[in-house]
Amino acid sequence: MTGFAESAKRGRETTHTPALDVGRIRRDFPILDQRIHGKPLVYLDNAATSQKPQSVIDALTHYYAFDNSNVHRGVHSLSMRATQAYEDSRKKTQRFISAADPSEIIFVRGTTEGINLVAQSYGRPRLRAGDEVLISAMEHHSNIVPWQILCEEIGASLRVTPMNENGEILIDEYEMLLTPKTRIVSIVHVSNSLGTINPIEQMIEMAHARQVPVVVDGAQAAPHIEVDVQKLDCDFFVFSSHKMYGPTGIGVVYGKRDLLDAMPPYQGGGDMIASVTFEKTTYNTLPHKFEAGTPNVAGVVGLGAAIDYVQSVGLPAIAAHEHDLVNYATEKLLTIDGVRLIGTAKRKAGIVSFVLEGVHPHDVGTILDNEGVAIRTGHHCTQPVMDFFKVPATSRASFAMYNTRDDIDALIAAMTKVKEVFGNG
């Protein structure tokens, strides 16, 4: 588990990290080859969702053209093929995050549903009135609201680890907030609005020293950092396929087997049962206990293809490349008068958030779009972060393996247009 800074440095020192052939990679992403308002598309909204390589698109088409069937239910050939493809993706996912066993991989709709599953199936039976759930000041709404709902119902309280002006967790405060009342820690690995890579290894260790289990929101980490859930020793790790070059509507909950085994199901229905009578239902074994109903089979197959693609390029090389882009973008943005960066942590992934004095991010976004540059503007589902930095919203550029320094030059040129339009160029 290394941040970008470390992996980039290691790459230079040992030259084990080959430079990316970005030109070749770009040709694998058909969507990039288009014009927006007459200008070449520059896609810098990867933290919201990444684009998909042809191999993922082909996997979806192939599945529907040749293998489509319901899984786990039929004895006919197509059903066996579909089940095989579905379960193969589970094994790929297991290896991707180095889980001990494929049954620890649960497919859900996305990070949001995954955190809700953990809150409801793991949190609800454990929490009592007066207990505490500990999160951080930089959580996405999807790692705030599910816990808030639960705490409110039970009479537990939600505690928040503060951060400093750079957007870094205050680790001493975190340690103090781990009290005998803390039942669960749920923490974002990489912040989607600040880019901060949190020291989750250390945070997990501190929590475990007090027997507190840890849930990691890995939505922004999975496409950028090599994750080894056994080394991290996190209890749950949750992420979304669509942010790591896979299809939408698919996400993953990793959970330690003994924890998952002890948890009640999240939803009831088909596939999650061993036997049903009107008097009593016996639940199916893992992972099926948590996958009620017909799953998004094509999506899971697509996720498998996305993992293959990411691994063929190599996460260390992707991380080093994105690290270079973040440094370059930071340097260039700071040459623009009136730009203030929001999120200046020492360890950062491929995300740069900023505000331009006197111009609202939505006006920035509209003018950039007119130049073909797609960025995100708004609160990025992290309103408490906006409140902390006292801004209503930010502009955010976020990078993927197919972005180049030219893309950042295009962003900077488009920012000059913003200043022209607003008459302070």
Partner: protein, 150 residues
Amino acid sequence: MDELRDLYQEMLLDHHKHPRNYGKLENANRKAEGYNPLCGDKVTIYLLLHDDVIEDIAFEGVGCAICKASCSVMTEVLKGRPEAEAEKLFGEFHDLVTSDPDSMVDTDGLGKLAIFAGVREFPMRIKCATLAWHTMRAALRQSDDVVTTE
């Protein structure tokens, strides 16, 4: 760039930089808050309504250039007008910014409000322009709920 120039006209940018009737209206007898959860735009409209006439009007809040200019121009246009005219202008303004970009619109009765015709080309920004008006109408009707554009 032309569409962009139509959107960010000089008069609009001027109202953004120097908003008119900005601040709390101390003797207001009507007030409403408007919120656009998509952008985080948040405005408060204050009215002094007397004998069905808007005798005074002001606004406060944070928002993008289009939102702020829309509030500013609206307050200028509505000051001194009867309530019924404000309701009528609400409809006309709404029609203006939501009409088909290729259609001709009659902006004769709209005066300064015509500068917002450029918003038609930017569907994602229509709510930025209409927030002021929805909030004003809520204040007129004295509904205490926070207005949202959703």
